[in-house]
């Protein structure tokens, strides 16, 4: 569509001036041809006139009308001559002859009047020096020769036909050349347009064929360079987009990480605040328990100590002392802040050591160094202390053991706390569902671990608490 439009435009642009030029040239050629015909006719008239003069000059001298009549007959017989007249010096007709009597409309432009003069004789230089009349001419008469208009018609028609054929030939040749040139030009342009459309569709590898000439070829080269430049820019832009995307992703990841860290920080802050609130509450409770219950227990113990020795006083005193120890343990647990397993175990050893010595029970204590690196929250410390307290209380009350072996080992991040005694293991099915064992297992679960109670090889009780060091550290 575009090519045909360009072709039509080229045809219009070229044919209009071409037609005008051919028309102008044709008009000029017609004018020139008509002038040439007129000139040739005039020349022919003059030639005929010269011949007539040569033939009749002498008879003008002699006034021989018979001979002039013969000359007129000869001249009138020439092609194109319409009429001839011989006139004397006074303008009187001496002889006249007309070929076509009906042809009365003689064209004055084709009437040739040739005067006849008696030319004098040019004398020599001496006569000229002496002022002699060296040449005199005298008009003898004139010859009028008229050429027929009919002779011009075929000449004019031939000229018109010739010019028309030449003009048509030139026009056809021009149309052909314009068509061929336009097709070549439009082909180059249309292929370039197709390449542009292809580029528009996104095919940046499309190029215009450099098959034009001159400015078209320059245009195609510029177009190709432009497309190449656009393609290069696109690649660079894509690279920049990819780079920006990567940078954005990284930023988003960093932002996400920051958010997570911020959330963790916030959570830690919340936990810290909550922990602080708990700690504050715990400290208040601890103070209340220490000042209130502790004071009451100490006062009660002091009062009962003042009583006389009796089994009741001893039992009450012992119970009060246990209550007081238990209260101290509770206060201790509440007072612990970010303690370690090693510290909890050491504190428990300190508390139970006197009781074991009093009962003459040997305590074997083996704790791995990893215990120094496992941190515990106050609640976890309390869980661990309650488990130890329950295990040792059961052993002291029911096993009748002489030796207790406590070990803490670790292997590949797994920590095991083992408590063995050499007493009598009497745990039946009914006891398994007792409240104390369930509490220990619940507290073990709170520590993220597992607690089992079984009979060891010595027949005593074997308690195993397995937990992961990392779980403890991560336990809130």
């Amino acid at each position: 569509m575009g090519a045909s439009s360009i072709r039509r435009q080229l045809l219009s642009l070229a044919l209009m001036p071409l037609s005008l030029t051919i028309l102008a040239v044709s008009v000029l050629a017609v004018v020139a041809s008509l002038e040439d015909i007129e000139s040739r006719l005039k020349q022919r008239g003059q030639d005929i006139g010269k011949q007539a003069v040569l033939m009749s000059e002498f008879y003008f001298y002699t006034g021989d009308q018979l001979q002039l009549n013969n000359v007129a007959a000869i001249v009138a017989g020439l092609e194109g001559v319409s009429s001839i007249r011989f006139l004397n010096a006074q303008g009187e007709v001496m002889v006249k002859r007309r070929n076509n009597a009906a042809d009365k409309d003689l064209d004055d432009q084709h009437l040739f009047v040739i005067p006849i003069y008696s030319k004098g004789i040019s004398l020599d230089e001496v006569a000229q020096l002496a002022g002699a009349q060296t040449e005199l001419s005298e008009k003898l008469g004139s010859i009028e020769i008229s050429l027929s208009k009919a002779a011009l018609t075929p000449l004019r028609e031939a000229a018109y036909m010739r010019i028309l054929l030449v003009a048509l030939g030139a026009l056809l040749l021009g149309v052909l050349m314009v068509y061929l040139f336009g097709r070549r030009l439009s082909a180059a342009l249309s292929e370039t347009i197709e390449a542009a459309k292809s580029v528009k569709r996104g095919n940046m590898n499309s190029r215009a064929p450099e098959n034009g000439e001159g400015e078209i070829l320059e245009f195609q080269k510029v177009f190709n360079r432009m497309v190449g430049s656009v393609q290069q820019n696109e690649v660079q832009l894509q690279d920049r987009i990819n780079s920006a995307t990567r940078s954005l992703n990284e930023t988003v990841a960093e932002l996400s990480q920051s958010n997570r860290e911020l959330a963790a920080t916030r959570q830690a802050t919340i936990e810290l605040e909550r922990s602080k609130a708990i700690s504050d509450e715990r400290a208040r409770i601890m103070k209340d328990m220490h000042d209130g219950i502790g004071g009451q227990l100490v006062a009660s113990l002091a009062l009962i100590e003042k009583e006389q020795n009796s089994e009741i006083r001893a039992n009450i005193s012992s119970t009060l002392r246990e209550c007081l120890d238990d209260l101290r343990l509770i206060i201790l647990s509440l007072n612990m802040r970010d303690s370690t397993v090693s510290a909890v175990l050491a504190d428990f050893k300190y508390r139970v050591h006197k009781k074991l010595q009093k009962l003459e029970i040997e305590l074997i204590w083996e704790v791995d160094d990893i215990a120094d690196h496992i941190s515990l929250q106050p609640q976890q410390s309390l869980h661990l202390l309650r488990i130890l307290q329950e295990v040792f209380t059961n052993t002291l009350k029911h096993a009748g053991a002489s030796q207790i072996h406590l070990r803490l080992t670790s292997e590949q991040g797994k920590v095991r706390l083992s408590i063995d005694d050499d007493g009598i293991f009497t745990l039946d099915e009914e006891q398994r569902d007792c409240h104390g064992l369930n509490n220990m297992q619940w507290r073990a679960a709170e520590l993220g671990g597992n607690l089992t109670v079984a009979c060891n090889e010595a027949g005593g009780c074997a308690v195993r608490l397995d937990f992961a060091a990392a779980d403890l550290s991560e336990v809130p």
């Binding site: 002498f58 001298y61 002699t62 008696s118 030319k119 004098g120 004789i121 040019s122 004398l123 020599d124 230089e125 001496v126 006569a127 000229q128 020096l129 002496a130 002022g131 002699a132 009349q133 005199l136 001419s137 005298e138 003898l140």
Partner: protein
């Protein structure tokens, strides 16, 4: 008287005429090359005659007329002659390169001492040549055509000698009636003389006469070589060199004698031209014709210095 004084006296007497002698002033009507050339020819001939170069001056009438009263004025052509006439000078004047008809029309008063060298040949020479040409021919009539108004020619006709071999028929014609009665005369004519006659030998008349004479096979003896090209068989005329030579001769003589015969018309040496084609067409033997001409030119009438008084 001592000898050395006598020698000195004789030398002075010999040189005195040179010192006191007049000059010759060649007066041109204009500076046309043809007049300058004619004047140079005269001067050259005078120098050849022994005249000193300082005695011959060339002037034109546009220049201030500066001549002494005893100088010889030599106007070339009718314009210079007319100029001298209008000056009414007392000098001797030698007209040259003028027609005899012009000399005939010069006013008789005013110029006491003058002569002329004309371009024309005297009719006598033409008639003598025609008579010789007509010797032995069947048609022995020689026609002499001239206009009735030509007085110069009429005077010459009076001086013509009697012909030996032909009969001269004098035909004064009116220009308007040229053709009337002439064809019958041409039929019997052996020769047609065409002397200088501006009224007759011009334009239509000249061409008609030449064509008619040729048609009747009558040879024409014309006065100008241009007529040879137009159809005349012979022409007797004066060449420029001959006129210059005759003018120089008379001027040199005047310088020596301080005078010449006044009122005389001098003719230059005659030249004769032949149209060989016409001659052969009219059955003349060209070689014999040339020999006859050479023989005629040696006659007395053709000798140098022929002149007639006006």
């Amino acid at each position: 008287m001592k000898p050395w004084f006598c020698v000195l006296l004789l030398s002075c007497s010999a040189l005195l005429p040179q010192w006191v002698s007049a000059d010759v002033l060649l007066l041109l009507p204009n500076r046309q090359p043809s007049f300058i050339n004619a004047a140079e020819l005269i001067k050259k001939q005078m120098l050849a005659n022994g005249v000193q170069a300082g005695q011959v001056k060339i002037r034109d009438i546009g220049q201030a007329a500066a001549w002494d009263e005893d100088d010889l004025i030599l106007p070339l052509g009718p314009l210079a002659a007319g100029f001298v006439q209008r000056q009414s000078v007392a000098n001797s004047v030698l007209y040259t390169f003028v027609q005899e008809a012009f000399v005939r029309e010069l006013p008789r008063q005013g110029l006491a001492n003058w002569a002329a060298v004309v371009i024309d040949q005297p009719l006598e020479r033409m008639v003598v040549l025609a008579d010789a040409l007509n010797e032995g021919r069947y048609k022995n009539k020689i026609l002499l055509l001239h206009s009735s108004a030509n007085q110069a020619l009429a005077e010459q006709i009076k001086r013509l000698p009697t012909l030996k071999h032909a009969e001269l028929e004098n035909i004064p014609l009116a220009t308007t009636g040229l053709a009337a009665g002439l064809e019958s005369r041409l039929y019997n004519a052996g020769l047609l003389l065409a002397p200088s006659d501006p009224e007759l030998w011009r334009g239509k008349n000249a061409r008609w006469l030449l064509l008619q004479a040729y048609n009747y096979r009558v040879p024409i003896l014309a006065y100008n070589p241009a007529l040879i090209k137009a159809g005349a068989m012979l022409a007797i005329y004066s060449e420029k060199q001959a006129i210059a030579k005759e003018s120089a001769r008379i001027a040199t003589a005047w310088l020596r004698q301080q005078r010449f015969k006044p009122g005389r018309v001098h003719y230059a040496e005659a030249s004769v031209a032949v149209n060989d084609s016409i001659a052969q067409a009219l059955h003349f033997n060209v070689e014999e014709l040339q020999a006859l001409i050479e023989r005629i030119k040696k006659l007395k009438q053709f000798q140098e210095g022929l002149s007639h008084g006006r």
